[in-house]
């Protein structure tokens, strides 16, 4: 077997490796520059025969980026800059003294936690899909193979029938991670059984939820896991062709995917006669058309065919008639990436993780008002409290938790009283939300829940493709009512009207965009009704967000007359003598909040 571009120089002995994160988040924080600086410094100090710098995919702890793991010592370095490089090399690499000041300090503590394995953010996660994250260079297929990569494919091709593979996936309990949670094995079986001239499979990497980056990170950190899953699925289903439909805005993921495909082809893991088994499968990458609705399976297929991405009536389902009329199996990135592990470790092992109805793990992107923003993988059935407080490290700046929004723009908001709910598909539905694809947005006391509902409806309104009247007009109507409520023009009957509109929109729209669009409204009405009432009845915004409903005032007891706010006010309408309490001309105030930000004594009140 000849050495190829795909293989890495494994014959050389290194005593240490610096695994630097090159996911999109860290890259935008200059991790490539840090890599270059490290390599230069290591060369200059004559250590390049002993130590190597490796770039990996997203390691998940995006809040602390750029991050780097020092192996074999397991030291976690964070928030690195190029200036830190000489010190790091001198101290840790030459003198063997890990550098404390570049280590992580938990939000509530003051002692550094040197090892990755001891940091709460990592400790409470369970990596199945992300099993290789941070451990391999995603651009080197040998590194994937070194960690048992493509063994599941070999196992399937050398010793299992298609039916057996489908049975294993069914027994594992794996459900689609793209949103609806449909059992994957059943879908595969339906596509396999469907009559058709050729079959195909699709990987849905459109990831349209704002703020979500699970699929991007999976592809960036372990693209071969997705390819291997797809090849196994193709064998089970009887498909020869596959497509990855990937969001245009993901250049790094796309690049790594192309590299992975080229390397897999070079090794004969894609293409004709894979692993000498006689089975052939290859795939193409297609860039997404850019609309949220493109992620919906029938729109996606229309887009692949070169048509306008609009959903169509189902049935026929893609499994019966999909791309070019062929039986088509479409799964999400994370769904595909689960497949190799299920085959390798068995259905029983997989099904031992999770809850009665939802097996395995789920990858979530945790963003918003939370200390440890990042990408986490946890077993199904974990509570929201564990994610937000143990892994997420709680709410910054000592603020109170208010809600966590799950399921993307058409998901729902979960209040504090439900934080101990074990997370799975059914339980989230019961409380008025959805699993969706795994975006979690944490909100603190400064968030207005009416305004949040308005915000999501605004997104959905502009992303509705417009085919169904209920979705096109209904979402807009709901949005306008919410905007009125936020503007202080809410009427008591608006609440019932929202309920009626919600029902019409979700019942009479073709696809789940309309079907789930009312969730943000219904869940906030259900769990935060008092905020709606305060807006409508008392014309007040308790969180102090909706400008029409708030006034800024200076607390004379707290104001020291330092004049910081007076100088900061863009309208120059804060008046008073120095060293005496100031007053705001509320009539002229534009409620921009600059005074409040500038005040060092918390003397500016919002009411």
């Amino acid at each position: 077997m000849a050495e190829t571009t795909a293989s890495s120089d494994a014959s050389k002995t290194y005593r240490a490796e610096l695994l630097i994160c090159a996911g999109t988040g860290c890259v935008s924080n200059r991790s490539f520059k840090i890599r270059d600086a490290l390599e230069a410094e290591i060369r200059q100090r004559g250590l390049d025969d002993e130590v190597r710098v490796v770039t990996t995919g997203c390691q998940g702890f995006c809040a602390q980026g750029p991050i780097m793991i020092f192996q074999p010592d397991g030291i976690f370095y964070q928030m690195l800059t190029e200036e830190d490089v000489p010190l790091l090399v001198e101290e840790h690499l030459i003198k063997g003294r890990p550098v404390e000041k570049l280590m992580y300090v938990p939000p509530e503590g003051d002692e550094v936690v040197p090892k990755l394995s001891d940091i709460d953010f990592f400790r409470k996660q369970r990596l199945v899909v992300l099993r290789n994250r941070g451990l391999i260079d995603p651009e080197k297929i040998d590194e994937y193979i070194a960690r048992d990569g493509y063994r599941a494919l070999a196992k399937v091709l050398t010793g299992m029938t298609s039916e057996e593979v489908i049975e294993v996936v069914k027994a594992s309990g794996l459900r689609g991670r793209g949103g609806a949670g449909f059992p994957t094995g059943i879908k595969w079986g339906l596509t396999r059984q469907a009559e058709g001239n050729g079959k195909c499979i699709i990987c849905n990497a459109d990831e349209g939820d704002p703020g979500a980056f699970m699929d991007r990170s999976i592809i960036e950190s372990d693209p071969h896991a997705v390819l291997e899953g797809m090849a196994i699925g193709a064998y089970a289903i009887g498909a020869k062709n596959g497509y990855v439909y990937i969001r245009e805005e993901y250049p790094l993921a796309m690049q790594r995917l192309h590299i992975a495909i080229d390397q897999a082809r070079e090794y004969g893991l894609l293409g004709e006669d894979i692993l000498g088994s006689g089975f052939s499968f290859d795939l193409a990458v297609h860039r997404g058309a850019g609309a949220f609705v493109c992620g919906e399976e029938t729109s996606l297929i229309a887009s692949l065919e070169g048509r306008t991405p609009e959903p169509r009536i189902r049935p026929p389902f893609p499994a019966q008639s999909g791309l070019w009329g062929q039986p088509t199996n479409i799964n999400n990135v994370e769904t595909w990436a689960n497949v190799p592990v299920i085959i390798s470790r068995g259905a029983e092992w997989y099904a031992s993780l999770g809850t009665d109805t939802s097996k395995g793990t789920k990858v979530f992107s945790v963003v918003g008002k939370v200390n440890n923003t990042g990408l986490v993988e946890v077993p199904m059935g974990i509570t929201m409290r564990e994610i937000v407080f143990d892994i997420g490290g709680g709410i910054p700046d000592g603020k109170q938790f208010k809600a966590v929004q799950t399921g993307g723009p058409s998901g729902g908001c979960i209040p504090e009283s439900l934080l101990d709910l074990p997370i799975d598909y059914e339980r989230l539905m019961e409380v008025g939300s959805i699993m969706g694809s795994g975006g979690l947005i944490v909100m603190d006391e400064d968030t207005c829940m009416v305004d949040i509902a308005r915000y999501f409806l605004d997104f959905l309104r502009s992303e509705s493709c417009g085919k169904c009247t209920t979705c096109r007009e209904g979402i807009a109507a709901m949005h306008d009512i919410l905007a009125d409520i936020c503007a202080g023009q809410g009427e008591p009957e608006h609440i019932d009207l929202l309920g009626e509109l919600a029902e019409a929109v979700s019942d009479a729209s073709l696809c789940a965009l309309g079907g789930t669009a009312p969730n943000p409204v219904l869940s906030t009405l259900r769990h935060f009704r008092d905020e709606y009432e305060a807006h409508i009845r008392d014309k007040k915004c308790p969180a102090g967000v909706c400008r029409a409903l708030i006034t800024y005032r200076i607390d004379p007891d707290k104001c020291k007359g330092c004049l910081l706010c007076t100088k900061a006010c863009p309208e120059q309408i804060i008046r008073g003598e120095a060293k005496k309490p100031q007053t705001i001309d509320t009539e002229a105030c534009i409620k921009c909040g600059v005074c409040r930000e500038s005040c060092k004594f918390d003397a500016v009140l919002v009411e």
Binding site: A10, T13, R15, D49, P72, G96, A146, A154, T158
Partner: protein, 127 residues
């Protein structure tokens, strides 16, 4: 480029094993070279180089090589600590390249402590 067979996957993984051990930070044995200023002055770098060379020559793929700061016994540098899995660490002192190679062969690979060069078995209490 020849296409892979299922056996080739094993071969690649085998070839990569040394790297995998390092990456996972868990090997059968761990060798720590003490690299404080004193250690470096006394020649710890040569010890490190000798270890890397012998690992490469023997094709050893399950041993982790690391460095640490001064071990507090500056007069006996260069020093290293050998820790076989599930065994107490052994400290070796006053090393040179030949001693290092012998310790590697006898202790790390062979499992036999080289008591002539060993300072002590076990290490100070951590807290």
């Amino acid at each position: 480029m020849a296409k892979l067979t299922p056996e080739d996957l094993d071969r690649i993984a085998e070839r990569m094993k040394r790297q995998t051990t390092l990456r996972e930070g868990a090997g059968r044995a761990k060798v720590t070279v003490h690299m404080g200023t004193c250690g470096i002055a006394a020649g710890a770098r040569k010890i490190m180089t000798a270890l890397l060379a012998v690992i490469e020559k023997e094709g050893t793929d399950d041993v982790i090589l690391t460095t640490s700061g001064c071990a507090g016994l500056c007069s006996r540098e260069p020093m290293m600590t050998v820790e076989l899995k599930d065994n107490a660490p052994v400290k070796y002192v006053d090393l040179d390249e030949d001693k290092t190679r012998q310790i590697f062969t006898d202790h790390v690979l062979g499992g036999k402590i080289v008591s002539d060069f060993a300072l002590a078995v076990g290490s100070e209490r951590q807290s």
